[in-house]
Symmetry: C2
Subunit: 150 residues, 2 copies
């Protein structure tokens, strides 16, 4: 993990659509060396995957919401059951068990309020374990970064 690896990772985190030739030139290596480094970074798991990031608004998911959830029962099995439940929902893009006043934080990508309503029914009102939940609708996304600084 030297300077060149970091440079490669930074490039790939911003744009992984270029050719290996371009990248080799960008970091000052031959194409073969560059390729071998990238392969190593992938094999060792530092690079988890290479994916397309879609524009959420262009996919019809125009609403984002952040929801904090307080559970009634806090045992490990109850927590896991609830997390399994939310994880199965496609509108839930992130789900975290957290410290603090609440137990779980969700980030939702929604088509409309109707979808939110239906989701709340499934997650929070059914026979589940939810004491309270607070919804924060996202007004403005100031930053939404997939890259992790090195």
């Amino acid at each position: 993990m030297d300077r060149i690896d970091r440079k490669l990772l930074n490039l790939l985190q911003r744009d992984a659509s270029g050719t290996n030739l371009d990248m080799a030139e960008a970091v000052g290596l031959s194409p073969s060396s560059c390729l071998r480094r990238v392969r190593r970074l992938r094999k060792t798991g530092i690079i988890d995957r290479i994916v397309a990031i879609l524009n959420p608004a262009r996919t019809g998911r125009v609403l984002k919401a952040i929801v904090t959830v307080e559970l009634k029962l806090h045992g490990e099995q109850h927590m896991r059951r609830f997390l399994d439940l939310v994880t199965g929902e496609e509108a839930v893009s992130q789900a975290y068990a957290v410290t603090g006043e609440t137990d779980v934080v969700l980030i939702l990508h929604l088509r409309d309020m109707e979808e939110f309503d239906a989701l709340c029914d499934r997650l929070f009102r059914d026979r589940t374990n939810v004491a309270r939940f607070f919804t924060m609708m996202v007004i403005r996304t100031a930053k939404d970064e997939t890259a992790i600084p090195l």
Copy 2:
């Protein structure tokens, strides 16, 4: 935007490292047609970008935190100033202005608590506009998905 485009987008959201030939076969098109579709999806902005997703733990950012922030002054210029401030911080991966009890929600990727401490100093205690903030440390990440369902 037909069935094949959706199939392509789903594939690319999971793994954009394969060759165009593979994808063409996966969706049942010739390589040239497949390539033209993917280019169109990129050009029209449905595909925002193609990036490498790193394993956060492997990069040394082993802690995640979610922070809710209440501002003292809620005017547009104050909100914008605060959002500009947090956006400039590399540990802040997501920043949202939201409805509800709080004004801003941040998601942080941290190396250690020392970094968190320093960040709090810069964002919340300086001459800024913060009334209160609540920190939720992430205990477990149940879901962290870049793909948006179509």
